[in-house]
């Protein structure tokens, strides 16, 4: 059974490669990140009319090499270019050759997230959202594919850090309640108690929402053990950032996962979102061994790298690895290689730590315009995509309206949910 599973990929990989080459397109430059940026620059008003195209990874690497830039970037480009261990060792199957219609669905999800994030950023600037705000813009291809591969009916869950609005939305949280949470309203998804960093939607398998870098990683192998112990078939997705991998919590958690996985007791899919920065610290200013996915090898965990900017690339592996983990009960790791095209948080305005050029160049790879271009090439009408964007915008607007009109939490809420069993709280004084 397992063996069969391992052999299948060899057959199907070529199909996918061919399919992807057919959609190969050239890249165009990108400026802003906003609603307007969801189609190529200057194209929004001439929908679908002008010729435009988006680069595949291989092409992007080549064109980048000719642009003088930081060595950083070249090294990382080279890394991205190099085959990931699984590609090179065991060629894999892509279960589904995604057709245009399916991709339109993903486009819709990605646009919804992006426009939601644009709305949160605006509200933060207006002072309507407090605390910290970390948006997911530019990473949609990863979350959309992997969270989409979850089977909540089997008990699958996701545990993530604090850049998680998308995770909540994709797992079925209503945008109104998510926005209301950011506004600190009583209708918020966690009653206004958590804010941007602590979204939970247990019903949909979204189990947080944690603000201490690295702190949430150990929860995943434990939850995964719990599932198998109880005879359940679920898989835990554990999202982590490139910055968190240097934290001891990662090391201890990954080691436990590898160890428990030996007896099939740890169905954990680690999804390392390498957006190349942990706040202002680039990967190579954080570690001497910058091939981050390789760090999983220390724990006996197999891994592979995917292009986190291209939803077809993430889709090509997501469902398969999710099912692999389900079947084996062993951890597996994905390094989704991308870039944080937005500031770290809404308050990171200086960005002294990276060049405007570097950011601009990566914005050219923004996953949403990339997919947009691919869809146009596939013959989807710009009108239809435009309608999707308009609908998504309306949803985001509606969420803002809902949040603004919602009441503050009742003051009595201050003292509830401290303990699970009762409403007893120690008297202050």
């Amino acid at each position: 059974m397992l063996l069969q599973y391992l052999l299948l990929p060899v057959v199907f990989i070529i199909l996918v490669k061919v399919a992807r080459r057919a959609t190969r397109v050239k890249s165009v430059p990108y400026g802003t990140i906003s609603h307007m940026s969801l189609v190529p620059h200057g194209e929004a008003s001439v929908s679908g009319a002008a010729p435009h195209s988006f680069g595949t990874i291989e092409e992007a690497v080549v064109s980048r090499a000719s642009v003088p830039d930081t060595s950083t970037d070249d090294r990382q480009a080279a890394e991205m270019d190099s085959p990931s261990p699984v590609d090179s060792q065991t060629e894999r199957q892509a279960h589904v050759a995604y057709d245009a219609e399916a991709l339109v669905g993903y486009y819709q999800k990605m646009v919804e997230i992006r426009l939601f994030e644009d709305a949160t950023t605006k509200a933060f600037r207006q002072g309507k959202i407090g605390g910290y705000l970390h948006v997911y813009s530019g990473q949609e291809a990863t979350g959309t594919a992997f969270l989409g591969a979850m089977k909540p009916e089997k008990g699958d869950v996701a545990i993530a850090a604090y850049r998680i609005h998308a995770h909540a939305l994709l797992l079925g949280a209503h945008p109104n309640n998510v926005m209301a949470e950011l506004y600190g309203k009583g209708t918020g998804i966690v009653k206004g108690k958590g804010g941007s960093m602590h979204l939970f939607h247990a019903e949909g398998g979204m189990l947080g929402g944690y603000g201490i870098v690295g702190g949430h990683i150990p929860l995943a192998p434990g939850y995964a053990y719990g599932l198998r112990y109880q005879g359940k078939d679920g898989v835990v997705q554990s999202y982590l950032g490139d910055g968190s991998i240097h934290n001891g919590a990662f090391h201890e958690a990954a080691n436990l996962a590898g160890l428990w996985g030996k007896s099939g007791m740890c169905p954990t899919l680690f999804i390392l979102e390498n957006n190349q920065y942990g706040m202002g610290t680039s990967v190579e200013r954080a570690t001497a061994m910058t091939e981050l996915g390789r760090k999983f090898e220390s724990y006996g965990i197999e891994w592979e790298r995917v292009d986190g900017m291209d939803v077809q690339a993430t889709l090509a592996v997501a469902e398969q690895v999710q099912e692999r983990v389900r079947e084996t009960g062993k951890p597996y790791a994905i390094e989704a290689f991308g870039y944080r095209i937005v500031p770290h948080g809404a308050a990171d305005f200086l960005e002294q730590y990276r060049s405007k050029e570097e950011v601009a160049k990566w914005r050219e790879k923004d996953p949403i315009p990339l997919l947009h271009g691919q869809l146009i090439e596939m013959g989807i009408a710009e009108d239809r995509l435009e309608a999707i964007r308009a609908e998504a915008k309306a949803k985001a607007d509606e969420a803002v309206k809902f949040a603004e009109e919602s009441p503050d939490p009742d003051l009595s809420e201050l003292l509830t949910d401290v303990y699970a069993d009762d409403t007893y709280v120690e008297p202050a004084g």
Binding site: K193, H198, F200, G222, L227, Q230, E252, A420, D421, E426
Partner: protein
């Protein structure tokens, strides 16, 4: 009632409850094959197998975090800190995750977790291996923190700890593992938040928890020889703290001494004094005295260690001071 050691009472609470409830698992360093460094879990791996008695690598933060994940998934994990001194490595998981998860998830997630192990000093383990962390963990809302002193309480409170849907910090008096006492048979839960009057008296109230409780009973004997009748209160539960029991006692005796081996500053004794001056202001005939550990990292040498902890003489002296019998 059967007589058993603190260690055996503790083990029997876990074993009995594990038989009743399959969702209970144990995690910790060397709790299985090795038998547990303090033999608290000895034999449990044979009884319940390695899936329920899980030996972990030396990674307190990691396995405590994993236990939180298990708790979220529907299990009831009991984590052994080989000693509480190692829990600083798990402090982030305990304080930042376990204690607050229910709150910041808006009540969506529960963390029915017990973290247990020996606490306190007294056997020459020196600076890094001698801590009494009641105040340290007791500071944080979201946690329940207890510190049982007798075999009966350690059993009854462990039963309560396991059944409690909240994260419980279970601070065992390591130095008392071998002490014996009567333990009620069966399912006798000792609820949290209830102090115990360990001995009744009329002249002065002596207040402590954990290892200092038997010390206070010996002090009470000493004081009795001097015709001083001491009431001894065993707090048992640190959070929630039962203030009523000791306030009532002091309203009767009008005098109090609080004893702890932890350091003085920002401690359990600080809080007890603060409560007493507030709740028994008109009843206090003398300032409440405290006897705490010396304000130094624990030394190794036996004579220094003894000098650094509360002794019978220290407490007798303090009691005599609140009675204005000495300066």
């Amino acid at each position: 009632m059967p007589v058993m050691t603190y260690r055996d009472a503790l083990r029997s609470a876990m074993a009995e409850e594990m038989e009743r409830d399959e969702s209970i698992v144990l995690l910790g360093e060397d709790i299985g094959l090795y038998g547990g460094t303090h033999l608290v879990t000895n034999g449990l791996i044979d009884q319940f197998g390695p899936k329920r008695v899980i030996d972990t690598p030396i990674a307190e933060g990691g396995f405590t975090g994993a236990a939180i994940g298990m708790a979220m998934s529907g299990l009831k994990p009991i984590v052994e800190m080989m000693t509480w001194n190692f829990s600083f490595l798990a402090a982030d998981q305990i304080i930042q995750t376990a204690a607050k998860l229910h709150y910041f998830s808006g009540g969506q997630v529960n963390v029915p977790l017990v973290v247990r192990g020996p606490n306190g000093g007294g056997v020459q383990l020196s600076a890094q291996h001698t801590h009494s962390l009641e105040g340290f963990y007791g500071h944080f809302p979201g946690l329940k923190v207890v510190s049982p002193a007798t075999p009966a309480d350690v059993k009854g409170m462990m039963l309560e700890a396991i059944r409690n849907p909240n994260p419980v910090i279970f601070l065992e008096a390591g130095a008392l593992y071998g002490t014996k006492g009567e333990v009620p048979e069966g399912d006798e839960v000792v609820p949290f938040g209830k102090a115990r009057v360990a001995r009744e008296g009329t002249d002065v109230t002596l207040i402590a928890y954990g290892r200092q409780v038997p010390l206070l009973l010996r002090v009470a004997d000493k004081l009795a020889e001097q015709d001083i009748s001491a009431e001894v209160i065993d707090l048992r539960s640190i959070r929630p703290l039962d203030t009523e029991t000791f306030v009532e006692s002091v309203k009767k005796t009008n005098r109090a001494v609080v004893v702890q081996e932890q350091w003085r500053y920002f401690s359990v004794a600080s809080e007890v004094c603060a409560v007493l001056q507030h709740e028994a202001f008109d009843y206090l005939d003398a300032p409440v005295e405290r006897v705490s550990g010396a304000e130094v990292p624990a030394p190794y040498a036996r004579n220094l260690e003894i000098a650094g902890f509360p002794t019978i003489d220290h407490v007798v002296s303090a009691a005599r001071r609140v009675l204005y019998l000495e300066k």
